[in-house]
């Protein structure tokens, strides 16, 4: 069970780490000062949450790997994040679409994790949920305004959502790790998150006058098992450069 839990915690941590790294690429380049601040705030929240998950994962593993070792000394194939979060920033519409899909799922997931029989998981989830409650509100608010904005903003949002849709299926396809966590009462039934997620996305799309892609569309998968898109390697090359060039360098 400990190894299963370690694997599971890595997924939670890697989602936060990789998405945070992506968002921080916008730092100083946001379309408005207010957006720049907001997006980097989200990035900081996510890295903070990732640190808690890494800490716990490292302790369970018992090999002496701390949060830094787990973040900076693993290769792409050892990362367990969803394919969605490693997708490039693209335009602001692409970034926002990725964020909205993720936030909507992240919120539902954390809600369930608050009831985990593992009290440490429940504690981290409870702390994170307050931050993520704001993330999901903010990204939804922006989607409504851009979807129901100008003809151009509407088209850009629609295109971004259509393109990223194929990366959402993975969130709801349980594998052996998630099944074991669910059986132990430590994690949620991920397939059961799908209906409320679809309902939330549909409600926001409706208000935003956007068309929802078909729930039965073909979906990408592989992130949770370490089979990633080419984008993750480039992201890690930048993020891990210093520790790769100067191993164990400290301030």
């Amino acid at each position: 069970m400990d190894n299963t839990k370690f694997e599971y915690l890595l997924r939670l941590a890697d989602n936060g780490l990789v998405l945070s790294q992506r968002l921080s690429e916008w730092c100083g380049k946001g379309p408005a000062l207010e957006e720049d601040m907001a997006l980097t705030n989200v990035a900081l929240d996510l890295i903070g949450q990732a640190r808690f998950w890494f800490d716990y994962a490292g302790e369970l593993e018992g090999q002496g790997r701390d949060e830094d070792a787990l973040a900076f000394h693993r290769d792409a194939g050892q990362f367990r994040n969803l394919l969605l979060v490693e997708q490039p920033n693209g335009t602001y519409a692409d970034t926002l679409a990725r964020q909205f899909y993720f936030d909507s799922w992240h919120y539902l997931l954390l809600q369930k994790l608050c009831a985990s029989k593992d009290t440490r998981i429940a504690g981290i989830a409870d702390k994170s949920l307050k931050e993520v409650a704001y993330h999901v509100r903010r990204s939804g608010d922006l989607v409504v305004r851009l979807g129901d904005g100008t003809a151009k903003s509407h088209q850009m949002m629609q295109d971004a959502f259509d393109t990223l849709w194929a990366y959402t299926g993975e969130m709801f396809q349980p594998d052996a790790v998630e099944a074991a966590m669910f059986e132990a009462g430590a994690g949620p039934d991920v397939a059961a998150l799908r209906a409320p997620w679809l309902a939330h996305v549909a409600a926001v799309f409706d208000e935003a006058t956007l068309r929802m892609p078909s729930p039965d569309a073909w979906m990408q998968k592989g992130g949770k098992e370490g089979v990633h898109s080419e984008h993750l390697g480039f992201l890690l090359a930048e993020m891990q450069f210093l520790q790769r060039a100067y191993p164990n360098a400290v301030w």
Partner: protein, 94 residues
């Protein structure tokens, strides 16, 4: 057509019992987003328990050229200041 987001003035209450205080301004497309943006720009260091936003264009201000008529008459009325009473040391926040 003006494509700029309108300007909003932001007021934050730092504690219950204190008044909202003007902290700055920001741009946002509407009131709801202005509150979101105010949260992100002005409450990052745990500054507040409540946020007000007001469209800058809705604020009615006195004109600098009226300064004389509005404020000078009170210059010479020193008896309006409560400075002629000894204040006990125990009384704070006055």
């Amino acid at each position: 057509m003006n494509n700029e987001w309108p300007l909003w003035e932001v007021f934050i209450r730092s504690q219950h019992g204190l008044a909202h205080k003007h902290v700055g301004s920001l741009h946002a497309p509407d009131a709801e987003m202005a509150v979101n943006n105010a949260r992100d720009v002005y409450t990052r260091r745990n500054e507040g328990v409540s946020i007000w936003v007001v469209r800058a264009s809705d604020i009615v201000a006195s004109s600098p050229s009226d300064k004389g008529a509005l404020f000078e008459p009170s210059n010479s009325k020193v008896y309006r200041h409560p400075t002629f009473f000894p204040m006990p040391e125990e009384v704070k926040n006055l």
